[in-house]
Subunit: 315 residues, 3 copies
């Protein structure tokens, strides 16, 4: 079966997940993003690559922040952007997802950026749309958040240059995290030899070892000697649920403090997809410390999303 993200020429036409994405395509995205980074220094931060194209932000699940990063990326490429909060509209009228998509396609959309609470919704849409239409997954359920995975890879490459000699630790609620899933696939694809997953057993999915990931429930042991630490956001609802004793208890065991950070390589970088819970998964001194590259991730994210949009838009 053909990879649903690639067209018949093997070019990226949708970005749905990093799983199964050829390494040269991932690298091409990162290289393209790198060419866009200097744009931010220019007075007019725009390129005409998507001029006259219509990009629809279809957010079936609200996320002002992620939506805004895609809106910025699209406008930097000179596209026209339409923000559709879909909960508030058609679906409340009982229309099916595919009828909604057909309808919006008929408005001559060129690209759909889709955030959906259900895993697989962007795949379903991509299978359904006409060939000239491109779908970008902006986060679906617990499944994938590929642009976050790619901007994490961009950040790592920016600071560490190479992937083949790295130890990378992902810390926290891996079970419920689409970011973790996308990061693990991307790190594997790019040849990172050692990927570690750190968290309480209740928040670690089964089958990590089969994916080549080393599992640690002891954070201090897991951080020893790593070059990159990717902290995950602890969802508020987990803290209130039965999976965890309390935020204080969680911080004690899995919060990244300066003491724990000292166990990693001296030049280790600290990443976080945001928004942060200070004092829950990360200490403020670390979040604001000189090893943190959390805000740089956001900045690189604009260039990475521009890269994805311009690549699929050209396919």
């Amino acid at each position: 079966m053909r990879n649903p993200q690639l067209n018949k020429h093997g070019e990226l036409t949708h970005l749905l997940t990093i799983e199964g994405l050829p390494r040269d395509i991932v690298t091409h995205i990162l290289d393209t993003a790198e060419s866009f980074v200097p744009l931010a220094e220019r007075d007019v931060k725009k390129l005409p690559l998507l001029r006259g194209k219509s990009v629809f932000n279809l957010f079936f699940e609200n996320s002002t922040r992620t939506r805004t990063t895609f809106e910025i990326a699209a406008k930097r490429l000179s596209a026209d952007v339409y923000n559709l909060n879909i909960n508030a509209s058609s679906t409340s009228k009982g229309e099916s997802l595919l009828d909604t998509i057909n309808n919006l396609s008929a408005m001559q959309a060129d690209m759909f950026v889709v955030r959906h609470a259900s895993s697989g919704a962007p795949h379903l849409i991509a299978q359904h749309v006409a060939p000239h239409l491109h779908v970008i997954n902006a986060g679906d359920g617990r499944h994938a958040h590929p642009t976050q995975g790619l901007l994490d890879m961009y950040t790592i490459r920016h600071y560490k240059k190479e992937f083949h000699n790295l130890r990378v630790a992902i810390v926290g609620d891996i079970l419920h995290s689409r970011v973790a899933r996308s990061d693990i696939h991307a790190l594997s694809t790019l040849g990172v030899p050692e990927i570690r997953a750190i968290g309480p057993l209740t928040l670690l999915p089964a089958g990590m070892e089969q994916m080549g990931v080393k599992v640690y429930t002891d954070m201090e042991e897991g951080l020893r000697g790593v070059d990159v630490i990717i902290m995950l956001r602890l969802q508020n609802e987990r803290m209130r649920g039965a999976l965890l004793p309390s935020a204080q208890e969680y911080f004690k065991h899995y919060g990244l403090t300066q003491e724990k950070l000292a166990l990693a390589a001296p030049d280790a970088i600290v990443m976080h997809p945001g928004p942060m819970n200070r004092g829950v998964e990360i200490e403020s001194a670390v979040a604001d410390g000189k090893q943190a590259v959390i805000l740089n991730q956001v900045t690189f994210g604009i260039a990475v999303r521009m890269a994805v949009m311009s690549i699929v838009g050209g396919a």
Copy 2:
């Protein structure tokens, strides 16, 4: 009394209703739309006709879909578009409709696209604004939805070429439908010799015959030999109310199935303003069948709205 939609030169300056609109103006809109359709095939789908103009989408009643089609049309004409959800703002502060309009006019708006739950609100606004300001009715109460009526006419002309030899059936909740009202006026204006209204007596308004419309409560009888079938959306609230026994019962009598469709002319087209209730007013096999032109209506709708905006904007 002068037609409130025309300026003193007889040019279209507002689009409020199709009722009373001269036939040559309707035809001019359709012809202009036709000239815009090829634009969709071009790489840059934009024209500079409204460059620097400010189009305000004033949606006093929420409708993401309709709002988006106007936003697309305006941006394709290079206008600046402002989306105002008015419920959430001024009216909740107790300001009158006309004070709100005065205020927005003073922001140097060039065009108001108005959706309002009260019939006549766009008329009231049009009577009130300065001469350089243009009002487009995007649906007011049960009264009119003229751009939907025009895109329906565009679609019919596209597939049937002429109006003078057609039998057109409108099926469903005609009583509450501004789409039906706009379609009936447009079909009359364009010289369609036979307009049929099909539905249960509780959903048919009085006085249809005086408008030159033939009334049928038996759908099979009403569909016999027609060239065009316009299905209407059955509002959910009707199904729950006292007007109808149940959705199943409704579908049995007034749902468009392949069997019933076979009674129409062999090349009859099936239209629907969307969003569809599959299995209520229309069977999926018909909605997705080769006689359905429902998604084409959406595409033509962009060109028709561009035509209306560019014509009133030039008046």
Copy 3:
């Protein structure tokens, strides 16, 4: 301590409050606005001064009207505008204001337009952001609404030419009004010799006399001979609260009627920041009368906001 609104060259880099703003800067804003007013008469109402810049409307408190005026001003300067309703997003996820701001800054924003229910929030943000980023206060708590103050000054200058010979009365709920506070500072800075505050004792703040303001609880006495009357909106919640007997009672004592207006100078102008409560703080005959310049304020407001944005954007 340096004025937080000025950079080290003494140029305006943020607009947070009119209090403490040098007179030549206020005058420069008004002069710049004046140069933008003729733009409204042109066919294409746009200038390229902020082309490629990203203006973020950060409305932590909803205000469609004020947000729209800033959106218009930014688009007239060719900026890209991003509307963020922040209540609905990050803060609900427990992120701190400064983390939200850091995050948005990292998206390479050039300007933040901030509306916030807490007095001082825009100051806090301005102290925190990188030097290339500019903050404009669009209303913070009861503290300040500087662009409203400036557009009021523009309006007064437009009709009265000079400030040094004026008597200006501000009428209504001065205690809760950020507009009143900004107006008083601006009038003082521009050398208005007589500023009067008129209202019931329960709605007048303490210490007005120390600010050089004459206090009147008798409206007829306070209006005698004034050249400018600035009416304030009476918030609905005040009318329901313990501070006032009733809207009718308030209108009787502090509503601006034609009779009371006759006590002012014959060429006095009547201003109001909107939205108006007709029949509460102002009689319709006055609101629509020939001395009212309320809608002109709105129009001038676009030019004034363009002026502020282009000045801070160039600093």
